[in-house]
């Protein structure tokens, strides 16, 4: 078995309903995830260290403002939220240089096919109907493992184990073979 830190995925859960936050947190913890919950999309962006300015630059320098200690492996967000919706959040993440590869899952209490399609087209990995069940959460691991593999494949000089702290891709030129 590897080190505990390596096996524990960190999920950021976004929902304006306190009850749903309690529920998703319990579901995720029961499935051995580390969980951070926030009550809005803007707080989620803040937590990720994603500031508006970063959107407008293709340069990596601004990205270094990002809190290097924040390591989120998956984002699960409610669709319907006041202010910025889960869909808006999804778009911002997919448009972000640093976070576009983080899998995003959308939750909604309403079964609207056009909504579901729009989210999936925008890059959401899954769309869960509320109330979310343990069986839904069990679908998350493959997406997380897939991202991990993808990450490893893009960096042939991949660090073994976790001796290094989160070393940013940004300082190393992407090696393509």
């Amino acid at each position: 078995m590897g080190m505990a830190a390596e096996n524990q995925f960190h999920v950021l859960a976004v929902d304006d309903s306190i009850i749903d936050r309690m529920l998703i947190e319990r579901l995720l913890k029961t499935s051995s995830f580390n969980v951070t919950t926030v009550d809005s999309a803007s707080k989620a962006l803040k937590f990720l260290g994603l500031v508006e300015d970063e959107m407008r630059t293709y340069d990596t320098h601004v990205a270094s403002e990002i809190n290097q200690d924040v390591d989120v492996n998956l984002i699960i967000t409610d669709y319907c939220m006041p202010g910025m919706t889960g869909y808006d959040l999804l778009r911002k993440i997919k448009e972000s240089k640093s976070f576009k590869d983080i899998p995003v899952v959308i939750m909604s209490s309403e079964n609207v096919p056009s909504r579901i399609n729009r989210c999936l087209e925008e890059g959401a990995e899954e769309f869960f109907l509320k109330p979310v069940q343990l069986s839904d959460v069990s679908k998350l691991k493959p997406h997380l493992l897939k991202s991990k593999v993808k990450e490893e494949n893009e960096q042939p000089i991949k660090r073994k184990g976790m001796e290094e702290t989160q070393s940013p891709d940004k300082t190393r030129p992407k090696v393509s073979i």
Binding site: S17, I19, D20, M22, L23, R26, L27, K29, S109
Partner: protein, 149 residues
């Protein structure tokens, strides 16, 4: 202590049978374990607080002139969502009807629905409080005698 267990079991069964609770509540119970031994009570307590706030908001909103049906619908949507999340089936169903009246901008329908909602909510809360009370009694009884296991 057996009679307490029986009381609890019967009361719980009745709540499901009479539609106060649905399978989602069972899901909450399944999520409760040693690492989170008070999960159900914590969630339901939050649900009570949240619901009471929403019911108040809906009540006040219905008294406004003119009535803002969109806002009331937003409250009903929220209440429906949280009810669904905790397995409060009857409350959830009334919320569905309530939303229909909001959409139709039917004030009388909304007022009736709110009354029904308050009623269903009250019944649920009282029944759940009794359930939790029985659970607590069992816990206490279990502590004061050295049970055979």
């Amino acid at each position: 202590m057996d009679h307490l267990h029986r009381k609890l079991r019967d009361h719980e069964a009745a709540m499901f049978q009479q539609g106060y609770l649905d399978d989602q509540f069972s899901q909450l119970q399944k999520l409760q374990d040693d690492t989170s031994p008070d999960f159900v009570i914590e969630v339901m307590t939050m649900f009570f607080d949240d619901s009471e706030k929403l019911l108040n908001n809906m009540s006040r909103a219905l008294e406004q002139v003119p009535v803002n049906f969109k806002q009331i619908d937003a409250h009903a949507h929220q209440q429906k969502g949280s009810s669904a999340s905790v397995g409060a089936a009857r409350v959830k169903n009334v919320c569905g009807t309530f939303r229909n009246f909001c959409e139709a901008q039917n004030l009388e329908g909304c007022v009736r629905c709110l009354q029904q909602l308050q009623q269903e909510y009250s019944l649920l809360k009282n029944n759940l409080k009794y359930l939790f009370k029985l659970q607590q009694e069992i816990k206490t009884a279990g502590r004061s005698i050295h049970t055979r296991g």
